[in-house]
Assembly symmetry: C2
Homo-oligomer: 417 residues x 2
């Protein structure tokens, strides 16, 4: 076994032991610890901001990109957001221990009960708030967590994790329930992905590249999160004013997130009446329009789209626009180029709407609403640890329940088979 792997296994062993204590802790104990983490974090905010400053200085010196710097930067308001997130977790119901029971004809009493997953691995990028979010959600659900954040945020994450571990100990819970990998090498990340038997699940959070790497290399079960090449499809029987409002909202309200619209499909029958108004307004708000040939003919300010455009998640003020012959082509295009995240039709036609809901393969499908609603909070789930675009275990916004598994408890009185 390599040195790196050996260290990770030691870490995982400690996590498993801590996890088995967490699994037996009451909701009250876990909530008290969450409150203490929140309090300690707020008290220690100046220390966190100082370490964040050090990370930022190093990142400027290394010439990191603007968006990366932005994701890395903390301020008092962002720390307050983390604190509020922890406080909100306290209020949510604890899924651990929920269950159902039935009795078999032979007298066996079978209980199917929710239990923590055990040890969760998180691989993420430069945003330090993921550190606190993930630790809080895992604590609430009785899971131990091993965190591997981006190397540019290492100093900040070290401080955050030290604070969390201190608060855990003060609450009578094991510090090793939350551990940070502080070796920034790629070898560590690779070994972490291959820690099957030790990690119960691995959740990557970040860009498409990170997620692809994890899906490719991991032997540990992975939950794929986040990539969203989302479409708004304006059907020929749409309320065009509603379609315009939904398109603008889905593109503009937060272009950097996974549930933002990246593509607009428009039925040929209404393209000439819909596109000029909608695209003019989007363009005035700074959106670059990349259109198919017909789109460019209808609205000449559009840049011609390439074949690659239909598969790209821009996460930016760019929108791909394509004229389609109707519902069949729209559904086919979405199932071919979408990432199975969130897809919307705007239509007043009952059958068209139903067919879209049925035939489009995505975590969330919408009629007459913005794709931006795919979100744990908007769905009423409280906390969210990511949005799953796979079909196993969890699909769509993942709340607390998605960080649990089931266990069968069978009580007998000597039954044999």
């Amino acid at each position: 076994m390599s040195e790196v792997r050996n260290e990770l296994v030691q870490m995982a062993r400690r996590a498993r032991e801590a996890g088995s204590i967490l699994a037996r802790s009451s909701t009250g104990q876990k909530n008290e610890a969450l409150i203490r983490v929140a309090g300690t974090l707020w008290e220690s905010r100046s220390a966190v901001l100082e370490r964040n400053r050090a990370d930022l200085d190093a990142s400027f010196a290394a010439g990191l990109s603007g968006p990366m710097i932005k994701r890395l930067t903390l301020d008092e308001k962002k720390i307050q957001g983390m604190v509020e997130g922890l406080e909100q977790l306290v209020k949510l119901p604890d899924p651990v221990g929920e269950g159902e029971q039935w009795r078999r004809p032979n007298g066996l009493e079978i209980t199917r009960v929710r239990v923590p997953l055990g040890v969760v691995g998180m691989i993420y990028e430069s945003r330090p708030n993921v550190t606190v979010d993930a630790a809080g959600i895992c604590l609430k659900t009785g899971n131990a967590v091993i965190l591997r954040g981006g190397k540019e945020a290492l100093e900040t994450n070290r401080e955050l994790v030290a604070i969390i571990r201190r608060a855990l100990v003060e609450s009578g819970l094991p510090a090793d329930a939350v551990q940070l990998i502080s070796d920034p090498s790629r070898e560590v990340a690779r070994e972490l992905m291959r820690l099957s038997g030790w990690l119960d699940v691995l959740i990557p959070r970040g860009g498409a590249g990170l997620i692809r790497t994890v899906m490719e290399q991991a032997t540990v079960p992975v939950i794929e999160t986040g990539t969203g090449n989302c479409h708004i499809y304006v059907h020929r029987k749409a309320d065009l004013d509603m379609a315009r409002r939904i398109t603008l909202n889905a593109k503009l309200s937060n272009p950097a997130v996974c549930n933002a619209a990246e593509k607009l499909l428009v039925d040929r029958e209404i393209a000439a009446s819909f596109l000029p108004v909608a695209l003019e307004e989007l363009s005035n708000s700074g959106v670059e329009i990349r259109g198919c040939e017909e789109t460019v003919r209808i609205w000449s300010k559009a840049v011609p789209a390439t074949d690659e455009d239909w598969d790209i998640e821009y996460l930016d003020l760019i929108l791909g626009v394509k004229v389609v012959s109707g519902l069949d082509e729209a559904v086919d295009h979405i199932n071919r180029h979408g990432t199975r995240h969130s897809e919307a039709i705007v239509s007043e036609d009952y059958t068209a709407a139903n067919r879209f809901l049925m035939e489009v393969d995505a975590a969330a499908v919408y009629v007459n609403a913005s794709t931006r609603f795919t979100d744990g909070g908007e769905f009423g789930y409280g906390a969210e640890i990511g949005i799953s675009t796979q079909k196993l275990h969890a699909r769509g916004p993942m709340g607390l329940r998605e960080l649990t598994s089931m266990k069968y408890i069978v009580r007998g009185s000597g039954q044999t088979r």
Copy 2:
């Protein structure tokens, strides 16, 4: 793209198209097709047995092992078993379309509805009945399936799949809902495991070696099934007669299956009174006893166990026996050496039993009952596609519901965020 991969992608594309038709088929249509598959299979049994004879001839010539030949061999009774399995599926409720709905304060109506997974891949070994079981369960749950059975069963599987496809077409459903990979090369298996984006899940069924290979190499989400290094732990406050009956049942009623006991742990305090009687009886039934040092001292006919023994799933008339100091050592031993399948304590002590249920990490934990009950039928689920020993998506016996995912359907009236 390699030739092999290209062919698999074509296959998967056809499967996906067929799956999207199945997904929209009514329960009635799917049930009719199941009845027709059952009928056609029974009518064609002589053709199946003839092809099975050809497989068997080749396997004898190749010098295959006795157990492998046994698993490969079909007879009229086994075909009747397949037919009855299909008929039973007809009676089970269809999970597709089940769901719940809620309304958000902004008026959005959110429905969380069960949908098929899409395209299921099955990799298995020499048992041809897996072909029919898997096709039936996938059909009932609206999934297309790509089957890759063992090369020794290829002729039998070809005939079975031809029968199933014929019945599908006669029922107005697409033949490509059930496809068989007839290229027996390892390269095909490897590429199948790496067909992410095309397969929604891969289910390996077979020995520990097959499952380990799939877990190691797959990029497609996998459901790990089956390995069971199961323990019976006889606590010092056990009813010793009950303990003896449970141990005999768990070891002897079907030693070749994953929920059979492979290890016996006994508290030191009762070892001298329990072991001689129980081990004598096991030995008289042909079980080889591999004991720890203390076991050998107490019952001298035991063969000394090696360190490796504690980790082996024998699937045979062999039992590893270890004397332990008490509950803590038993739980620790099980969590270290078990495969998280099924674990039992025999005890009349309330607290010991509860601690065992809580602290042992396994899909099914038992008090005072045989581990042999971990089974879809015994749990009351009807059909079973395998027993999951992982924690994501499915744990324990997997029924029809475990072959589905969820989809969010959101109906709005112009909502934006």
